[in-house]
């Protein structure tokens, strides 16, 4: 009951602030009618008297609206708005009368004008329904309301009730504080297509123009915004820039700037009703958020932190009630007794020193918030101020550091100048750069020599167990398995292929040879190849790498030697039969470390290549099989595929279960004949991939990959996501087929680069001189007098240009520098020639 009566009183007693005064509108019961019917509207204005600390009535008046008796009259809303015609802010009040028969509702907007104040009718209109929801009176005066899915407005200019020509379920009204004043309505646009997202739609009432409403309020906020106020705006149309605050149903006050969320503030209450701005002068702006349950919350606009909260507030107004030049907030407190003693309990404050109150317990806390929470808010506000101060401080510190550095450098230079030395800053230093590398040239020789000191074990004549061949990809692989008894050292062994002696004379077929260890008995597992790559007959022993898998006894293992060669030249040259020759270091000679170990050659058998052998290898079909064929497949794959060995090192983060990770990856299958190898042969990939992971300790491991380069890179890339960030992957060694070609290419590239750089540096020096000369020459062409003079000047300039380009085409350069450049370039060229020669030899050999 109490609630309803209070609501009733609120509905019928409306107040607004205008010009530092409070205006109260009340519907008076008509003396002639019974108590419940009202037809007269009275107003009272009050001003604040500091001495008495109370509101004093200034004027009073009444207006009879309805001549008809028994027409019930109600105040719908009252608001101060700009009267466009008179160009002053004027209080307006909207009242409604329901006619006897019902069905139609008579509305009239009254204004309080003149001195002494009188209520004058402004607009009158009729509606077939009663206004529900929020009704706004904005500049114009314009009355805006919604009904159903439409928004309506009326104003003296509009002449009659107009409908916003867009229909949406939700409407928000507001005005932009720009000089011309723009009233807008925001709504959700209906999507044209069902899957199209809804967007905010704006409509300027005066212009009758649709605009992008998300400039004011982003779409997701439209549905949850309860009230909105534009703080500032400039620009027009789509170039609109504005700052907006909106209170949302998610208990937040949100500050938007140009359609993006700038800041948010958690509100302690729900159901915000209105946001007002209090300009407190030098202390900044306060945002006053009014809530339906009579709560009011003040938020500092600068920090966007809650300043104060009040409850049991019947209405809140903003104005200069004290007449001091800045605005204050007036909070009227009161429950049901409001209409009798309207301005008895109040508080005027700007939270910055001004505070007048009456009828309130001074002891009683003004806020409904527990004090702890309140101090928390204060703390937050302080913290945010502190933080901004800190930012400034940090910036200053940064500046000081820069200045210090500059000072130090200058002091250093000065000191050096005083002591007679000239401070030399290198070019990169001047730019704050550090040289990436110092050029140092190869030191391959020593390592090569080292490798030659391999001590081969004693050997008799090697005994071949089996000779086999495979066609893998576009290569022919011939393999030879030596029996364990032969005990050859891996370093001296290689296999080469000769053409069948039947044709003219046996020629060497270009091939690459590799050596693998196989265990003598038990499951045959080819281990890491103690491989070698080199051309047959061209120092086969010199390029042996001495990698040997430690731990196992080499005596107890067999050797497998393979030779791979391109299949196509072989077939085109018609050579389908070839001889396999085994090369190995002879005993005795090799024991003398200085001498190059003499190689012995042994014919191991013949291989005849059949083009119809191009069948699928059993390994790729089923890696689970354990047979000699599968092992041979594996060996041939290991021979043919490019090989990379990486050391993966993660010094402070253990690697975890890398093996498990590889096995979990799709497509990797364990090879039964060599369980440490994993095979990836997905149909999408061109070539199969062989992987072997060997963990040294929890922080280190070796990864050996046999695959194409692209596949290797892809695999490493995916592996990097698994490995810890701090780990390093270093290539230990790689063997690729393209090595000579790559060498050649890089040598050529180097040549081109050095040529370009040398020339450009040579010419640049020249150019500079030229340009210096040119500048002095051009100074003459100033102030053209007559036409002939002008032409003469132009001609001269043109001739100069011609001369310049001629010089540029055949420049004169310093002889010393030129010689130097030629010297360096010829050096580079020699390297390139060497690489080209090697490459040519290779292709030549291939051809024969």
């Amino acid at each position: 009951m109490e609630k309803s009566s209070s609501e009733d009183s609120r509905r019928n007693a409306h107040s607004l602030s205008h010009g530092g005064k409070v205006v109260l509108f009340t519907c008076k019961p008509d003396p002639g009618a019974d108590g419940s019917e009202r037809s007269g509207l009275t107003f009272r204005t009050f001003y604040f008297e500091r001495e008495g600390n109370a509101f004093v009535k200034a004027t009073e008046g009444a207006a009879a609206i309805s001549r008809k008796l028994a027409a019930r009259m109600d105040v719908v809303t009252c608001e101060s708005a700009l009267d466009v015609q008179r160009r002053v802010k004027t209080p307006f009040v909207l009242v409604t009368k329901r006619s006897e028969k019902g069905g139609s509702f008579q509305y009239s907007l009254l204004t309080l004008a003149g001195s002494p104040n009188r209520l004058e009718p402004c607009i009158e209109f009729k509606l077939p329904y009663q206004m529900k929801g929020k009704v706004r009176i904005l500049q114009g005066p314009t009355v805006l309301w919604c009904h159903g899915n439409s928004a309506f407005y009326t104003s003296p200019l509009a002449a009659g009730v107009r409908e916003v020509p867009v229909q949406t379920t939700r409407w928000l009204f507001g005005e932009l504080p720009i000089h011309k004043g723009q009233l807008f309505a925001l709504g959700l646009s209906e999507p044209l297509l069902t899957n199209q997202p809804q967007s905010t739609l704006g409509y300027f009432l005066e212009l009758g123009q649709v605009f992008d409403g998300s400039l004011i309020l982003p779409r997701p906020y439209l549905c949850i915004t309860q009230c909105v106020r534009v703080l500032r705006a400039d620009g027009e149309g789509d170039a609109l820039r504005c700052a907006v605050v909106a209170a949302t149903s998610q208990k937040q006050l949100v500050l938007f700037e140009n359609g993006t969320v700038r800041d948010t503030c958690e509100l302690p209450f729900e159901q915000a009703d209105d946001v007002q701005v209090v300009n407190t002068g030098r202390s900044g702006c306060l945002l006053l958020v009014l809530f339906k349950q009579g709560h009011v919350c003040a938020v500092w606009k600068e920090t966007f932190q809650i300043a104060c909260c009040w409850s049991e507030v019947s209405s809140a107004h903003v104005g200069d009630f004290l007449g001091c030049g800045t605005e204050q907030a007036l909070l009227l407190f009161g429950g049901p007794g409001f209409s009798r003693e309207p301005l008895e309990k109040f508080l005027i404050t700007d939270l910055c020193g001004i505070s007048y109150s009456s009828g309130q317990d001074s002891e009683a806390p003004k806020t409904s918030l527990p004090p702890q929470e309140n101090s928390l808010f204060t703390l937050q506000a302080l913290e945010s101020r502190l933080q901004s101060g800190l930012n400034v401080l940090q910036e200053l510190e940064r500046e000081v550091r820069v200045k210090d550095r500059v000072l130090q450098q200058s002091i250093q230079v000065l000191a050096e100048m005083l002591s007679g030395r000239e401070a030399v800053l290198s070019q990169p230093e001047q730019e704050g750069l550090v040289a990436l590398w110092d050029s140092d040239e190869g030191s391959d020789g020593e390592t090569l020599d080292d490798k030659m000191h391999e001590t081969p074990a004693t050997s008799s004549k090697p005994k071949a167990d089996k000779l086999w061949h495979r066609i893998t990809g576009d290569q022919l692989v011939v393999g030879l398995i030596l029996s364990a008894e032969s005990g050859l050292p891996a370093s001296g062994v290689s296999l080469s292929l000769l053409t069948e002696p039947g044709q003219s004379s046996p020629a060497v077929i270009q091939s690459r040879s590799q050596v693998f260890w196989l265990p003598a008995r038990g499951p045959p597992t080819p281990t890491l190849p103690a491989s070698s790559s080199g051309r047959a007959f061209s120092e086969p022993a010199a390029k042996r790498s001495k990698r040997r898998v430690a731990g196992d006894d080499p005596e107890a293992r067999r050797l497998a030697v393979t030779a791979a060669t391109e299949l196509a030249p072989l077939l085109t040259s018609g050579c389908v039969k070839c001889r396999a020759m085994l090369h190995y270091a002879e005993e005795g000679e090799a024991l003398v470390p200085e001498s190059r170990p003499a190689t012995a050659v042994q014919h191991c058998g013949n291989v005849s290549v059949d083009v119809h052998d191009l069948c699928q290898t059993p390994l790729l079909q089923n890696p689970q099989i354990r047979s000699d064929e599968v092992r041979e497949d594996l060996l041939s794959l290991l021979t043919v595929l490019d090989h990379w060995l990486f050391r993966i090192d993660s010094p402070d983060y253990s690697l975890g279960d890398v093996d498990g990770w590889i096995k979990r990856r799709e497509g990797f299958k364990k090879i039964e004949v060599s369980p440490e190898h994993l095979l990836l042969d997905s149909p999408g990939c061109s070539a199969p991939m062989l992987l072997r992971w060997h963990q040294i300790n929890p922080f280190q491991g070796n990864l050996s990959i046999h695959s194409s380069q692209l596949q290797m890179l892809q695999f490493l890339d995916s592996m990097l996501t698994y490995l810890p960030d701090s780990c390093s992957i270093q290539p230990v060694k790689c063997t690729t087929r393209q090595s000579t070609a790559e060498d050649f290419a890089s040598a050529l590239e180097k040549e081109v680069l050095s040529l370009r750089e040398g020339l450009s540096s040579l010419l640049c020096g020249k150019e500079e001189e030229e340009s210096n000369k040119g500048r002095t020459g051009h100074e003459e062409i100033q102030g053209p007098g007559s036409a002939e003079e002008l032409i003469r000047c132009r001609r001269e300039a043109w001739q100069q240009n011609v001369e310049k380009s001629r010089v540029r085409l055949s420049p004169l350069v310093d002889a010393g520098r030129y010689r130097e450049m030629i010297k360096s370039i010829s050096k580079v060229k020699m390297d390139a020639d060497l690489a080209a020669l090697q490459q040519a030899q290779m292709t030549g050999q291939l051809r024969c």
Binding site: P220, I224, T248, Q252, V254, V261, T264, E266, D652, S654
Partner: protein
């Protein structure tokens, strides 16, 4: 115009980038608290914006990412409560999105529901990473039960981790700007949490007496920072030590050290084990290494673990783990090292260590800070009081035949405490005196007794010094001073006579009384010997007899008593006295008693073989 989502995503990505960068920059000066605070407040602000609108599936990924980022920053600041609040909120919003928020408050029910509601969608891995953070918070708060409850989900997370986060990486790699960046790879977080959980659980179960060896060994194979792997080995070692497998335990400790050379707790545990095994040399060696390890400057925390953002120590705060990881301070290690050396015939080394210790104490006194407070290990201080350290050092110097240095130390002790000495100490029988005496009185008496004993010991050592320098007169003077101090202690209850031989280890007073008695015996014996040297044989005999009475097992007193008797021509008695003395074996120095209260064999010695030959001449009794 950019959409709100794109803007917010960009804001998140910028924040994440800044956060990472600041972290990298500041990690060097160990001062990233401020940057973390700033990051967390920035993320929180962004989150407030995001949560200002109703949950929407378009925004959900971004929102969950921001929740994740904010919570990582909060966790790094140890603000677990706030982080948990955000996580719960996020879970509720996920449910709200699915339209099935039933407002449950039980976290496990909530998370299960949240996971279920996003199963099979792109949000799943986001919710999983949030759950991961929740796991970390549970761990940090030592709530192991919900972790056990979610074991299944965690392992799921682990198992599909690879695939799911690989997707995440590839997405991120595509450089699409609207993929929200995370400040920390969730997989790294999961890895870190997994090993931390294993360690904490291992420690808890170890404390409860379970065998957790297999779990710990499995944990050692996890991808983790070095220090944490070392902890798993350490815990395995402790477990083995509990199972009475000391050698295997030592192996584990060694492995811990190999993994992380700074794992001081492994060294400390090994010293304890060596002590238990009675391997003195190894113990001394281990103590020495431990000491030098502790002296190393604290490293720039080897925690690139979870992108340096989250330190493992955040999650390793269980109590039972703390007790396992605790290591005494460098100074107490140095003290035990010095004492061990002195007791086990490495006097010169012991002296050096004692001098180092005193120097360190003095410099620490000046600087007022301990260098090792920064280390992650809890520091246990077991260092004795300063006068006792001085006296021990003095005794060591005496044993090393450096009487002048010894005297300087003793003088310092006497100078410091002489004015504080009580005139008289009245002791009561601890068994029945509790009623009569108030606590303070007894404490005062005890502290008086302790000071008295220090002063007396200082005089005793001075006496020894003079005896060593053969200044017998001075020696007698100082032995007398020592004795005079000792007789100030009275026992109230006459029936309560202090037991000499067996020090009652339970009460301090027992030890003190034992020390008192020994000091009496040794000082009397010393004076007797000095008298004997001065040829005042009667007085010598009297003192030696009294000394033997006070300390029947005194070796030098016994020998010299015999010698004096011999000189007095009471050869039979002398022989009996010697025989009796020899029947006692000369006790080695023990750790239970202060070194200075034991016989240091620093005074004039008698050659036992010569005595025996004399006995032979005397013939059979």
């Amino acid at each position: 115009m950019m959409s709100l989502l794109a803007k917010w995503t960009r804001e998140n990505n910028e924040l994440a980038f800044n956060c990472k960068q600041q972290n990298d920059e500041l990690n060097r000066d160990h001062n990233n608290l401020f940057s973390h605070r700033r990051c967390s407040s920035d993320f929180h602000k962004l989150l407030r914006k995001l949560q200002g609108i109703p949950p929407h599936s378009d925004h959900a990924q971004l929102e969950l990412s921001v929740v994740y980022n904010a919570c990582v920053c909060l966790t790094a600041l140890s603000h677990f409560e706030e982080a948990e609040l955000l996580l719960t909120q996020a879970a509720h919003r996920v449910l709200e999105l699915a339209g099935e928020d039933r407002g449950t408050s039980d976290p496990s029910v909530l998370w299960r529901a949240a996971l279920k509601s996003v199963a099979g969608t792109a949000l799943h891995r986001h919710v999983l990473s949030l759950l991961c953070l929740q796991w970390g918070i549970w761990l940090a708060k030592s709530c192991l039960n919900p972790i056990k409850e979610f074991q299944e989900e965690m392992s799921l997370l682990e198992r599909q981790g690879g695939a799911v986060w690989d997707d995440c990486r590839t997405e991120a790699k595509e450089k699409i700007p609207n993929i929200p960046r995370l400040v920390l790879d969730p997989r790294r977080l999961a890895e870190l949490l997994k090993i931390c959980t294993a360690i904490v659980q291992g420690a808890e179960r170890l404390n409860e007496g379970w065998n957790t060896l297999s779990a710990l060994q499995a944990a050692a194979a996890l991808p983790a920072p070095r220090a944490l792997i070392a902890y798993t080995h350490l815990l395995s070692g402790s477990c083995l030590a509990h199972m009475n497998r000391p050698q295997m335990a030592l192996q584990c400790f060694r492995r811990a050290l190999e993994t992380d050379p700074r794992c001081a707790c492994a060294l400390y545990q090994s010293t304890l084990l060596y002590r238990q095994l009675g391997n003195v040399q190894a113990e001394i060696q281990a103590l020495r290494i431990l000491h030098s390890t502790l002296l190393l400057p604290p490293t720039t925390e080897p925690a690139p673990a979870a992108g340096r953002l989250l330190s493992p120590s955040l999650f390793l705060c269980s109590q039972s783990l703390g007790s396992l990881l605790s290591v005494p301070s460098a100074l107490s290690v140095l003290h035990s090292l010095a004492l061990k050396c002195v007791i086990h015939d490495r006097v010169s080394e012991g002296v050096e260590n004692y001098l180092d210790l005193l120097a360190a104490l003095r410099s620490e006194d000046q600087h007022g800070v301990t260098a090792n407070t920064l280390t992650a290990h809890a520091v246990v201080s077991t260092l004795p009081k300063l006068p006792r350290l001085y006296l021990e050092a003095a005794a060591a110097l005496l044993m090393a035949r450096r009487p002048a240095d010894c005297m300087a130390l003793c003088d310092e002790v006497i100078g410091t405490i002489l004015d504080l000495l009580p005139d008289k100490v009245l002791l009561e029988d601890p068994e029945d005196g509790s009623v009569a005496e108030s606590r303070e009185e007894r404490e005062e008496a005890e502290s008086g007794l302790v000071k008295l004993l220090w002063a007396a010991a200082a005089y005793l050592l001075l006496g020894h010094c003079y005896a060593q320098q053969e200044d017998w007169k001075q020696a007698v003077t100082h032995y007398t001073r020592c004795f005079n101090l000792l007789v100030k202690v009275h026992c109230k209850n006459n029936a309560f006579s202090p037991q000499v031989s067996a020090p009652d280890k339970e009460s301090n007073q027992g030890v003190d009384l034992c020390v008192l008695q020994r000091l009496k015996g040794i000082s009397l014996a010393g004076r007797g010997i000095s008298f004997a040297q001065m040829d005042r044989l009667r007085e010598a005999l009297r003192d030696l007899h009294l000394g033997l009475q006070a300390l029947p097992e005194g070796v030098s007193a016994g020998q010299w008593c015999g010698e004096v008797l011999w000189r007095l021509d009471r050869r039979r008695e002398a022989a009996a006295c010697w025989e009796k003395t020899w029947s006692h074996t000369c006790p080695p120095l023990a750790e239970a008693l202060p070194v200075y209260a034991q016989e240091l064999q620093s005074g004039p010695l008698l050659d036992p073989t010569e005595l025996r030959s004399r006995l032979k001449e005397l013939g059979p009794l």
